[in-house]
């Protein structure tokens, strides 16, 4: 691949006489050799070579597919139990990925099927909360950071109030209001309390960026506020926000599992790993798999997202290396 062979040459160092070197390096119009690299394409280049990123990306990909098409992974239903399969009965472990692979839970439901179907709740909550939090927190943080003054004062005080509420306890209070708690209600409750972190990061990042000369230059060349915000501030301020959001995604999944474990998260019949951990805690000695497997799933998922966030941060901020 020409791409790779070119890539082994370190950094496109442009000597003082930029024109000539481009003439030498480039093979005519738009040749692949002198291909310009932006921050993002540089980051992508680094990411592809980072084993941490590859592992976490593969894990996340599998989880996403599992969340969207659980039937691809198992033929068993996670909700129908046959008490003949109760875990105190003679265990009948089958081959890998068969319904009986990991055994059955107290109600004779396939543990494996429940693991597969549980991915949807976790992934949905994680992604939905992250999206909501990034949009809301990002917008609030950007406005506060860019305009400053009284707008910043008001938004920052609101932010302080929300940041002061304990995240898990707060969401329990919010969720307590609802009798039936769907995935979306849990996601909203988490987002309602979780946007402050992103808002703070965005605000700080925007304040740094808005002082950049190119923002002044854009202003001096007649760009309007909207254009300055979207074209000049946002693309340059978004990197730390993406990093924090990716790492936080794992946190939201863990939060959902914790709430479900406590019985105040997603309510049945939706399958959730947190609930399964809770179900398994009473039979830890007799049937450890009932508890261990969903716990492992939560850990692996959270780990995958945090690893991804780390990899993205390293790629976007070369100084950390």
């Amino acid at each position: 691949m020409s791409d790779v062979s070119q890539a082994t040459i370190p950094a496109p160092a442009t000597p003082a006489d930029g024109g000539k070197s481009a003439g030498l390096a480039g093979t005519g119009d738009g040749g692949p050799v002198g291909k310009p690299r932006s921050l993002w394409s540089d980051a992508w280049y680094d990411l592809r070579r980072n084993p941490l990123f590859v592992i976490s990306a593969v894990l996340i990909l599998v989880l996403l597919v599992m969340a969207v098409f659980p039937q691809w992974f198992t033929s068993a239903s996670p909700r129908t139990g046959d008490l003949a399969n109760h875990f105190l009965q003679q265990p009948q472990y089958g081959h890998f990925f068969s319904p009986e692979w990991l055994g059955y839970d107290a109600q004779g439901r396939s543990i494996y099927a429940r693991l597969v179907y549980g991915a949807r709740a976790s992934v949905t909550v994680g992604v939905a909360v992250t999206l909501m939090v990034t949009l809301a927190g990002g917008l609030i943080g950007m406005l506060a950071g860019y305009f400053g003054g009284w707008i910043d004062s008001i938004l920052s005080r609101i932010l302080d109030v929300f940041a002061g509420l304990p995240f898990l306890l707060g969401s329990m209070v919010v969720l307590n209001v609802f009798d039936v708690r769907t995935v979306w209600i849990v996601a909203l409750a988490l987002a309602f309390l979780g946007w402050t972190q992103i808002a703070r990061v965005t605000r700080g990042s925007v304040i740094t960026t808005k002082q950049a000369d190119y923002v002044q230059a854009a202003k001096a060349l007649g760009a309007g506020t909207g254009r300055i915000l979207l074209r000049h501030v946002l693309p340059n301020a978004v990197a730390p926000v993406i990093v924090v959001a990716t790492i936080a995604l794992g946190g939201y999944i863990a939060a959902e599992a914790s709430l479900s474990f406590l019985g105040i998260g997603i309510s049945p019949p939706t399958v959730s790993w947190g609930m399964d951990v809770s179900d398994g805690k009473d039979q830890l000695r007799n049937a450890p798999f009932v508890l261990i497997t969903p716990a492992v799933m939560v850990s692996v998922t959270v780990l995958a997202f945090i690893m991804l966030g780390d990899a993205v941060r390293n790629a976007l901020d070369p100084k950390l290396r």
């Binding site: 930029g18 202003k219 074209r231």
Partner: protein, 351 residues
């Protein structure tokens, strides 16, 4: 986005229809409200630039030269900045009385600015071609493709080699001189009437400085633009400027046609600046330096602001602010365009 009616191409009449200058700054005051008090950055500056004319504004850091320019462009951060007094007439219209939107439309299209550090003045996440094209897309509503073609044209005009190959490069892939050319291209894009260049060559090395200044001068002639050149480098000014305004502590202390200022400065501060240029024929001697530091703008000395550092200061300098007066020959003939704000300008120029 808003499209702006482009002024007719080709050589434009000098300044407003009635022959007034292109830009006239009248008694401009700018102050910054800080925790330490009010910093008076600009205290009654007057200057004028006509089309095709180059005015160099000279002064140390903190003399208010950049703040004046920012006030003219309308990119001053307000607050903390405030303009309590003054007029900025652009083609006879007072910019300070215009709405923000009206001013925004003038920026870029009718007047543009070139900044000191071209690397940090270009957005690192977009290609150079995109940023140049942005001028056309925003102000003239051109399509992406047409804007990019225009960008290549512009890069050619500021003599960037292999413009076509380089249009999709990012700012960090260019050398300092090339980047400054791109900034110049961006400022020129819509063929503005006035360009303000804020220390355009300070961040460049000496060999490139001359090239960039030449380019700027050529383009200015070609488009018959007014140019305000802000600098602290007396060497840069000499070849390019028509007239010079020397600023100190937010005031203009001397104005003169460029060569006369070098020959016979009429203000001790200007003399000090000229004397502090290293000269080959004075090798081995101690280099002259104006003693002391520029004044703190929250506590500008009474009288002439330069008096604590002035070798010729007398009692009157500590009490009375010297007005910017016409400078004359010994026999009383007026020297065109020469003014000095020194109580003892006669001694300074003739002594």
């Amino acid at each position: 986005m808003t499209t702006i009616d482009k002024p007719a191409a080709g050589p434009r009449p000098s300044g407003g229809a009635d022959g007034s200058p292109l830009l006239e700054v009248r008694d401009l005051h700018v102050e910054f409200h800080t925790r330490d008090g009010v910093a008076k950055a600009v205290n009654g500056v007057n200057y004028a630039v006509s089309a095709g004319e180059t005015l160099a504004v000279l002064g140390e850091s903190g003399s208010g030269k950049s703040v004046t320019a920012q006030a003219v462009m309308g990119i001053l951060d307000m607050p903390p900045g405030r303009i309590p007094k003054g007029e900025i007439l652009f083609r006879g219209q007072d910019l300070l009385k215009m709405s923000g939107e009206e001013r925004r439309k003038i920026r870029g299209a009718r007047m543009a600015m070139i900044f000191q550090d071209a690397l940090s003045s270009l957005n690192p996440v977009f290609t150079v071609g995109y940023q140049l094209g942005e001028m056309y897309r925003v102000h003239q509503g051109l399509s992406r493709k047409a804007a990019k073609a225009k960008a290549v044209e512009l890069m050619d005009r500021v003599r960037i080699p292999a413009a076509k190959q380089r249009v999709n490069d990012y700012p960090h892939q260019f050398s300092g001189g090339m980047r400054q050319r791109i900034m110049i291209a961006m400022a020129l894009a819509l063929e503005p009437d006035l360009i303000i260049a804020d220390e355009p060559t300070t961040a460049l090395d000496v060999t490139v400085q001359a090239q960039v200044m030449d380019l700027l001068a050529d383009l200015q002639r070609e488009y018959n633009m007014g140019l305000i050149l802000i600098t602290h480098d007396l060497g840069v000014v000499a070849d390019v400027a028509d007239k010079i305004a020397v600023m100190y502590a937010g005031r203009i202390v001397e104005t003169a046609p460029v060569h006369e200022l070098y020959k016979r400065p009429a203000h001790p501060y200007t003399r000090g600046l000229l004397d502090s240029i290293p000269r080959l024929d004075q090798k081995g001697q101690e280099l002259y330096a104006i003693k002391g530091l520029p004044p703190n703008l929250t506590r500008i000395p009474s009288g002439c602001a330069f008096n604590p550092r002035c070798p010729k200061a007398r009692d009157v300098c500590r009490t009375d602010i010297p007005p910017l007066l016409q400078v004359t020959e010994r026999d009383g003939t007026q020297l065109d365009g020469r003014r000095s704000a020194c109580h003892f300008w006669e001694e300074t120029i003739h002594g």
